[in-house]
């Protein structure tokens, strides 16, 4: 048992309100109390020490991203050369990196956990397999509900809420999920019935239920099941001018229930001005500030080539003609979901793209409580996760931000509200948005902080004025106490663990589900649920990390 001390670093650990020079000691993969006698002493003076980064919304595993890889060999080929360490197997980087490169590049940046936000029940094994093949990182996924025919049918028939709640819990159990995500509530299903738009209070053309009902039911179910991560919501009308109305209605529909609104940048558009496309960041930030039940991640866009991969078939279809290169993949999936993969190139000289960029930054800077804002680009939809250090610099360095703004489409550069925002985020605020906050939002008590007993996922950054350089290449990264990266080089590739939750439910629901699966010709009901042993095999024998549910509120 080796005790290691990181001596004299500037520890930024907002979960414990620590922002001071002090030692951090760890043994056996866990943080221990500071002590005098240690086996290994590492000089961390001149460095900033934080917990490992946690990305709570990044498309790292499952069918959509794999389709993107197959779709875009011309982009993938440009990103093949790099294998910096003998420990790395060949794997493309870029906007749709291989799972191996995904792990390597995240770890080199000091991230130690990542969560796939859109796991389809029918594709759950595949998603877990891919995440198992992301080296080093711990991982987990949110399972999609709210567009599956059974859920909509139960809602349409006015079945008991408790039954729907049991079905929700069973789906989490069967797919080994960390939470539930709803994408364009009822809209993916509606597209299968040739409906092209669905507002929050509009009825699904077949099931005659509204997105509002779906949101309320799922948010309440998760609350009562005690699932730590609240409903993860990709709202209605993604990317459409004027969609701020839907986003505000979504917040109102939740009626105080906890929820996480994801990639809100794509949902904060007004329809004002000569181009009928404007920033609604101020309105959305105000709504988030006024509703403490709401947390967000931003989904910042970054200029350059990327690919968007989403379950939102309805909206991806609507935007497929904007794709570059001009090709796209769509699918209707197994009576439960859909998928759309559209390559995208965000251009500085495009009015719309420049405004999207400004809206994302405005949201980061206008929401007061950093604990409810998570730093994401919705990888790869807004840009690849490798752009996080650049994004951090934009948030921490106002003059750098203004330099970038000046390069954009002249109308945006001249008029964006961003120009008048003086706020620069502190190291502590960045630590909240990239580790402490996401850990709290996911219910990971022993991650995202460096208190005694916490997991020894630790990053040591060399203090630099250029925050982009500082956050791109930390000096040292430890995963569960093992050194995994040193100055941008992978030094070990342990298998990461799998986070999931196991809410309780009435098994009586299984009879109903068995019949539904048989009627729709889906896979044999006995093959749906993933057991612990199988999950372990899917994830290459990584540790299983069930997170505790809280005491749900009884009905």
């Amino acid at each position: 048992m080796t005790t290691v001390r990181l001596r004299g670093g500037h520890v930024v650990d907002p979960a414990r309100q620590v922002d001071a020079v002090q030692d951090v000691c760890f043994r056996d993969g866990r943080i221990v109390a500071a002590q005098a006698a240690v086996d290994e002493d590492i000089d961390a003076s001149g460095c900033v020490v934080m917990a490992g980064g946690i990305d709570l919304h990044t498309h790292i595993g499952g069918g959509k991203v794999n389709l993107a890889r197959m779709l875009l060999p011309e982009l993938q080929r440009k990103e093949v050369a790099r294998t910096a360490s003998d420990l790395e197997l060949a794997s493309c980087g870029g906007c749709a990196p291989g799972t191996l490169a995904t792990g390597y590049r995240y770890v080199e940046m000091g991230y130690t956990s990542a969560f796939e936000p859109a796991m389809l029940p029918a594709n759950a094994r595949h998603a877990h397999m891919e995440m198992g093949d992301v080296p080093v990182l711990d991982h987990g996924a949110y399972v999609l509900l709210g567009n599956d025919e059974l859920f909509l049918e139960m809602l349409a028939r006015g079945e008991d809420f408790e039954r729907i709640r049991d079905y929700t819990a069973w789906t989490i159990h069967a797919s080994k999920a960390m939470g539930v995500k709803v994408v364009n509530p009822a809209g993916i299903s509606a597209f299968k019935f040739n409906q092209r738009r669905l507002d929050v209070d509009e009825s699904h053309v077949h099931w005659q239920v509204t997105p509002r009902q779906v949101l309320q039911t799922l948010a309440r179910a998760l609350r009562e099941l005690g699932v730590p991560h609240p409903l993860h919501i990709h709202g209605s009308n993604l990317g459409a001018a004027g969609n701020i109305e839907s986003t505000l209605e979504t917040i109102a529909a939740l009626d105080g229930l906890p929820a996480h609104l994801t990639h809100v940048q794509f949902h904060a558009y007004g329809n004002e001005g000569p181009k009928k496309f404007s920033s609604a960041a101020v309105q959305l930030a105000q709504a988030v500030n006024d509703n403490p039940n709401i947390s967000i991640d931003v989904g910042q866009i970054m200029f350059g080539q990327t690919v968007t991969a989403s379950g939102d078939t309805m909206r991806q279809y609507a935007q497929s003609h904007l794709g570059s290169p001009r090709k796209w993949i769509g699918a209707d999936i197994e009576c439960e979901a859909g998928c759309g993969v559209v390559p995208f190139r965000y251009r500085e000289q495009s009015y719309v793209n420049a405004l999207q960029w400004a809206i994302g930054l405005e949201l980061f800077l206008l929401v007061n409580d950093p604990w409810r804002v998570v730093l994401t680009t919705d990888h790869p939809n807004g840009g690849p996760f490798t752009s996080y250090p650049h994004l951090i610099r934009l948030l921490m360095d106002r003059s750098f931000r203004e330099e970038q703004l000046a390069k954009l489409h002249p109308d945006v550069a001249a008029q964006a509200a961003l120009r008048s925002i003086k706020r620069e985020l502190s190291l502590s605020e960045i630590a909240i948005m990239t580790r402490a906050g996401p850990a709290r939002l996911l219910g990971l008590a022993d991650r995202g902080q460096l208190g005694v007993g916490a997991a020894a996922d630790i990053v040591v950054y060399r203090e630099q004025a250029d925050r982009e350089a500082m956050f791109a290449t930390p000096e040292l990264v430890f995963k569960d106490g093992a050194q995994v990266a040193c100055a941008g080089r992978i030094t070990a590739v342990p298998v990461g663990g799998t986070h999931f939750v196991e809410p309780e439910f009435d098994r009586g629901i299984e009879k109903r589900l068995r019949k539904h699966f048989a009627d729709h010709g889906q896979v044999n009901f006995d093959h749906v649920a993933i057991g612990h042993d199988e999950l372990c095999r899917c994830c290459r024998g990584g540790r299983l990390l069930p997170a505790a549910c809280f005491e749900g509120r009884p009905t």
Binding site: V80, A90, D526, H527
Partner: protein
């Protein structure tokens, strides 16, 4: 005495039926229960009572596994450009194979690589819109089987679709037609163009497609003529046109014998699909040049590692290359420098495969005890032996 195993996931065609059972006789032979699928029955007949010597062979002589593994590693070490072909394995086998392919710079192409590549090239050029089996069963009001009925190769297809082959909702465009012309004419007709020379059937079909609420175009890449990617692209054009005003989707049937599964696994690990190698300048993806048949014919490779764990076929191509074969025990007679019999996922071992729609991954369960190692076991041992040799 017999033992019924149910449910059983059938690994022998990409529909991966999992509603049937398998009955295991006392002598170890297996019989299908609940279906009369000719393809599954024929495949199960290759898993009779254990007979003969299931030991690995080096130059035809029976040996212990470690001897065969060392011989395989020695061949791989001296090869300057190996080819990994067949690729009849599951997710675990593909994961192990990727490491070995990276270590040796091997080019990887599936036995069904030609059909797989036609679909892939159409995807890479234009993308596409697809659907899955449960959607078909729930929604379809017009099912077009383009290039013939799928039943000869996918006998249980219509059971999945919830339709009889003679249902009025099913329309067949016969394989005897010129499929390039037929698809092009159909695409023009659904766009509302007047097409001289289009048959009355095709014109009627275009009308029905435009009126359908959820039309599905089924095709089998393996049955399309050379340059079938062009037909696939055109069928996807039909789907795209229909989706402007109503709903439609395509459903390709194929990717069996591990091809689609290995392609998925390699794509996620590396970021590029099959017909890729880890060359001196990093990963190289060459969907045309890295065709196994072409490489063998051109003497562009100097070693063949062939994997076929689902049955005694497909056999490796006839060639003079040194050969390592990881295969069904029934392949012992195939000429090979090293032959290692392996377990079949879904018969002698657990495993995972992708279904034809590329979305559903199903678990496979062993239905009888198996002394043979899995493909993944053997490949991991070969990788380890190579590392040891390098370190020495």
């Amino acid at each position: 005495m017999t033992d019924a195993v149910r449910p059983w996931s059938c690994p022998f065609c990409p529909l991966l039926c999992d509603a049937f059972g398998v009955v295991r006789a006392a002598d170890g032979s297996l019989a299908l229960q609940g279906s009369d699928c000719a393809r599954a029955r024929a495949a199960l007949a290759h898993f009779g009572p254990a007979t003969g010597d299931d030991r690995p062979r080096v130059h035809g002589r029976a040996c212990e596994l470690h001897v065969a593994v060392d011989a395989a590693a020695a061949l791989l070490r001296t090869s300057r450009q190996p080819l990994f072909g067949g690729l009849g394995t599951d997710v675990a086998g593909a994961r192990a194979l990727y490491r070995l392919a990276c270590d040796t710079g091997a080019i990887c192409d599936a036995a069904q690589g030609a059909a797989l590549t036609e679909g892939l090239r159409a995807l890479q050029d234009r993308g596409g819109f697809t659907t899955t089996l449960a959607e078909v069963r729930t929604r379809v009001d017009l099912l077009v089987c383009f290039g013939g009925l799928p039943t000869p190769r996918h006998p249980e297809f219509f059971r999945h679709a919830g339709l009889a082959p003679d249902d009025p909702r099913v329309v067949v465009v016969a394989p005897s037609d010129d499929l390039f012309a037929a698809s092009a004419q159909l695409a023009a007709l659904v766009e509302g163009q007047v097409v001289d020379g289009a048959s009355a059937e095709l014109q009627a079909l275009a009308q029905r497609l435009r009126a359908a609420r959820y039309a599905v175009l089924v095709y089998e890449p393996a049955r399309l003529p050379v340059h079938g990617a062009l037909v696939i692209e055109t069928l996807q054009r039909v789907v795209a046109t229909l989706n402007r005003s109503t709903r439609a989707a395509a459903l390709p049937l194929g990717g069996g014998d591990g091809a689609a599964t290995v392609n998925q696994v390699f794509s996620w690990l590396s970021g590029l699909p099959l017909r890729t190698r880890n060359g001196p300048h990093g990963l190289e993806h060459e969907p045309v040049c890295f065709d196994a048949g072409r490489l063998v014919a051109d003497d562009a490779v100097d070693l063949l590692l062939w994997i076929a764990s689902f049955g005694p076929a497909p056999a490796p191509p006839a060639c003079r290359l040194p050969r390592i074969v990881l295969g069904h025990p029934g392949m012992a007679a195939v000429e090979a420098d090293v032959f290692i019999p392996v377990a079949t996922p879904g018969i002698g071992a657990d495993g995972h495969l992708f279904r034809t729609d590329g979305v559903v991954m199903l678990p496979l369960h062993a239905v009888r005890p198996e002394p043979l190692p899995t493909v993944a076991d053997v490949l991991q041992r070969i990788s380890a032996a190579l590392q040891t040799e390098r370190a020495a």
